[in-house]
Symmetry: D2
Subunit: 386 residues, 4 copies
């Protein structure tokens, strides 16, 4: 760890009382003590923003009524005092205008996934990010796990040669109950196309699957054939999707996601079979990864072990056997952002040799997945390019 | 256990030196001591048949040069001396002619899966079985596991209400190495369309998946969309298949099978999510089944526990915690056959109220799966009825 | 597999209606089709013996009123017609007189564990077996598992060098309920010192632990310090024992056994840590064994894999991933007996180079464990030699 | 979450460059954003302290040459500016003098375990804490896990009635390699009695076991019989201990700990069998706990589930299925401290109704365990009171 001259200052849009993901971002950003929470517009309800600001010990002048006001006023503060970047943790609908506003105001942006409300917004956002040259990070947090990073390196180095079969799944029970009718905030916006966009489950958990598998293998999905379902009455968006995948490199795969699977919590699991070996990794027990080679005993590699690669070591905090989890991986994404923002401030070139956090291009890829999946389903579950 | 007047006499076609599944059938049939191995034509090579017969302590007069000779000569022996039934454990190609010959000779038949070489043969076999009224069992052995039988009962009784999502998989490493070029008998015929038929993996492991899921849920596959692959050079049949499934009852599913998945042994696993709960069962650790209900702690039910249903109890031999496995489940299928054959001999009606072994109709269903899958793939992975 | 001239003929004492272990022995003996059940005295109740004999399709003349009659009359039958060996599956109390009677009648003996009712009987039995030169097998069935045999070989070959720590446990719920008051036969005799001897749990499951660990490591327990407990009212024997162990080779261990542990079924698990590596094996999932080496990824070896030793291969029947269980391991013990009896009949020297089944010396060792444990507890849980 | 007027200010003694546990404390304290790192004496080497202070963005005037200087100077700063509490993360030898100095300077103290170098120091520290009335927390972090807190509540409410058997283990590979000869700081002081005290493994991991089990059951160890071992040459302290335990409530137990167990990482696992049910919890996968009841299906309860108790909910941050780990549990201990310190500052009575962090009495208990264990071993592994 190399010390820098000061902590970075973070602002947040969204994440007020009643939200879940705002706290996740704040805890993740705090963990490594390189970032201080400085300003926010936590809710469209200013009372909520004020209360949240108090809980976070913020200067009340840095708690804003609107994100536009926040972007404008923060921009006028001197360097080192104003926020360095903003985290956008609102429902999908507002990601684009908020991100755009802050990017155009000269701020780096961390944004929740899926990146935007529409595919067109995603394409426009790519252009804005490229034009501004600012740091943009999409929090596909699962790529922050040390063993996931190790797996990517193993695939990049040809350890398993060609990808032949991928089975990726993300199963939740979450929406098997009509929580949106019972007042649960997270369920209300997720089941509402006006806030979520055209994808329900495919956006909420499907994009994580796509990002994770393409991150590890670097072998993109070339085409897919999907079948979506909505089981509960009055629901407008997909609750469950199955899809066949074909990869650019010639391999095949299945994707099985659901938010109506009783007993499942956050069952993200990926299995990748190459021509020489395979890996199995599950988010719910992320400190272990099974690694197989043909004809050899199965091995289980463990986070923080001495035999792992440097990229795994760089993403780990505590010794093997002391479990790290969701927040640590999330914090590792934030660390990538911290490094990039500091490089930007110092006028150094951004590290482009290795991927330390998901970018706007990953975000576009996620939106393409949602649109391709929806298109496939709408045409009767046929094959479409992605 | 009710005693009967004598052990049943079993013949076998196939299963000579070098075969694997012949021994499985013989061990399974022997386990409960209701069946005695009596006659056989174990190979097209008579030397092999004689050696195998000696190893089984058979009367050399009951070791035959051809199955036709066997059927003919056994038919002439007196009741109680001649075989009661024959087990057919040859490659797929010869299942139909052998089964037909013995059925027409008045013998009950146990047959390995997939049932026949072609779909037309399967349809004809259904008619033959129905016409003769004899017992015909197809050894989809996984339906012999006590917890699988319990699951079927739970679904039948509405415990989980409607099936919404099924994930069924069967993954093997077996053919990731070109064993057929290295002389392995099991690989040679399985990779040869002239012996296996139009399906490779889809016949060898895919039919087990279909049988298992339809057995448990009694909610048949209505249509499917499949994508098959062949990765190793010179292979003519599918090594890997992914498919989307739609069930008659409105649920959806994915099927993912492979015989080129490094590290996998006999990874048959099924997960069925209903509207009120779910089950997870894996063949490699068959004494446990996870049962989930919405909002409740996950439970693991264990074979031979007192809280299980009568159908589970009827299929179990030893106390909980003492693992049963593959052979025991296979033996339970043979027990179903034993009961049915004895009922036939005693002139009692066959128990049609409960399914104690897979029948010719299950066999036809498996062949329909192979043909539907192949058709879907041949047309570019489109949806076809099944 | 080499063929022999005929199947061996097996008799049984005990194992009538209502018993459990009799069926286990009969199924295990039948599995490999080298043994035929021929005669029995299944109960002190002749009606039970007759019914059991009928269920087993025995000649009613081979169903005897007393074991003494059985030994006497069988001895007079011609070789090849009379039984070759007898399996003794009665409560502990009668093991010795029955075994003695048959051995002195010239029959080989398979006997359930613990070997005898008293330590003195065990010592006498060793002398009888040695004097007669007959085959005597004690069914410590867990040593029949392929991976257990492989582990023994690994330790013998110095793979893990010195044993430093052993944790062996066998946990059951079985007696947490006063089943003996509810009429359960297995509980009645096990909780009755007049039938079981001085050890309850220590004899029933503790002897298995000791046999398993000494089998694998070949490093015997040198001394122990034990603490036994009886929790349920009116119980006279130990239900639970903890013990500290010291091995001849300088290592240490703990043994934790219980028959009043809620939720546990047949939780026999052994962990052995040597100076260079370790193994972990559990009976409830016996097809897997974890193998650790310092600083290396954990490995899981699987039954029937190509990389295993010849001793593991010799004890396996079906391919990897198709689970074998309790009965298969038991059958492997019977196979060892079959080989030894045939060698005896053929006048060949018994294979003494490798241990294919537990012998009378293992049985004596088990009785020493019971007596040492009881002595330690009786003296206030002090250290005693074993 | 209730907001307070300001973040608490934390100082640290120890935790400089090269240390591991200092970062753990700092990350844990930062997670919930109620504490700010303010001052430190991170090393006896002032250069190290300065570098560490820079990395933590501390005011260089708050980086001290000695802890005595730190206590003295901080005490003179105004309330709200000076540190509220200090975390002591040095080797055992200096815990007592440092804690004493800060307590007598009016500061609350968080201290690593084992609490002191000698038992006498522990007893004196109890008196100091009681006299000052200040908050003292010992970081037995495993009691911060939500499911551990839930288990304590279940036992308190009689869910499993009487404790009958406990199996507690903590297994590491850590010292199977002579890391102290290879320069590893953590190994050097841990294997040096001059820095660690009379206990090696028994202090480092054994005290965690004792704290965890007494925390959950509230049924203290009454006596124990221990057997310690040292296997590597030149080692002076125990590397491995086995012990028999007897509880005040009449139950029994075994403790098996090792730091020379190949393949083990931080294998802390506890199994507690009561007369009506049991729990199994393992630190390496802390989001799951198995709960058993006699005769019922096994259940697995999961962190953050709706059916858990309020104490579990209070200790959880993120939804079920998103794994929490070591740092989160550690942070929960810090939250208990935060609450207590704030109550102290506000002049409110300390919450004594529930145990939110381990206290000086737990620390004394741990030292008693070390001394009792050592006494038992020194006398030849006999029973001693604890």
């Amino acid at each position: 760890m190399v010390s820098w001259k000061r902590k970075l200052k973070m602002g947040m849009v969204g994440g007020g009382q009643g939200a879940f993901i705002g706290w996740v971002h704040r805890m993740a950003a705090a963990l490594d003590q390189q970032i201080e929470m400085t300003a926010g517009c936590f809710s469209r309800d200013y009372e909520n923003t004020k209360i949240t600001g108090e809980q976070l010990y913020l200067d009340h002048r840095r708690c804003y009524r609107t994100y536009e006001e926040m972007a404008e006023k923060e921009a006028k503060l001197p360097e080192g005092e104003k926020i360095d970047f903003v985290s956008v943790v609102t429902p999908n609908k507002s990601h684009f205008p908020i991100a755009k506003t802050f990017l155009e105001g000269g701020f780096h942006v961390v944004c929740d996934k899926p990146m935007t409300y529409t595919l067109d917004e995603a394409k426009e956002l790519v252009q804005i990010v490229e034009k501004t040259g600012l740091v943009f990070c999409l929090t596909h947090n699962y790529t922050g796990h040390p063993l996931v990073r190790h797996a990517r390196k193993q695939f990049a180095e040809g350890e398993f040669v060609t990808v032949r079969k991928v089975i990726v799944e993300y199963l939740q029970e979450f929406l098997a109950v009509p929580h949106e009718k019972l007042g649960m905030k997270q369920a209300i916006w997720r089941t509402d196309p006006a806030q979520s966009g055209i994808g329900g489950t495919m956006g909420d958990v499907g994009t994580h699957c796509v990002n994770l598998l393409e991150y590890i293998t670097q072998d993109p999905i070339a085409e897919l054939c999907a079948d979506k379902s909505t089981f509960l009455p009055d629901r407008l968006l997909d609750e469950d999707v199955n899809a066949l995948l074909r990869f650019k490199g010639g391999g095949k795969g299945v994707l099985a996601i659901s938010q109506v699977a009783p007993g499942e919590e956050n069952g993200l699991k990926i299995r990748i079979y190459g021509s020489k070996g395979a890996i199995v990794w599950a988010h719910e027990n992320p400190n272990y990864m099974e690694v197989y080679k043909i004809g050899e005993p199965r091995t289980t590699i463990t986070r923080a072990s001495g035999y792992l690669s440097d990229v795994a070591a760089a993403a780990t905090r505590i010794p093997q056997g002391h479990p790290e989890g969701y927040l640590e991986a999330f914090a590792t994404i934030y660390n990538g952002v911290t490094e990039a923002v500091r490089a930007y401030i110092d006028g150094e070139p951004l590290n482009t040799g290795e991927y330390n956090f998901p970018t706007v291009h990953d975000g576009l890829r996620g939106m393409q997945f949602i649109y391709s999946t929806a298109e496939s389903c709408d045409k009767g579950s046929v094959w479409v390019k992605m």
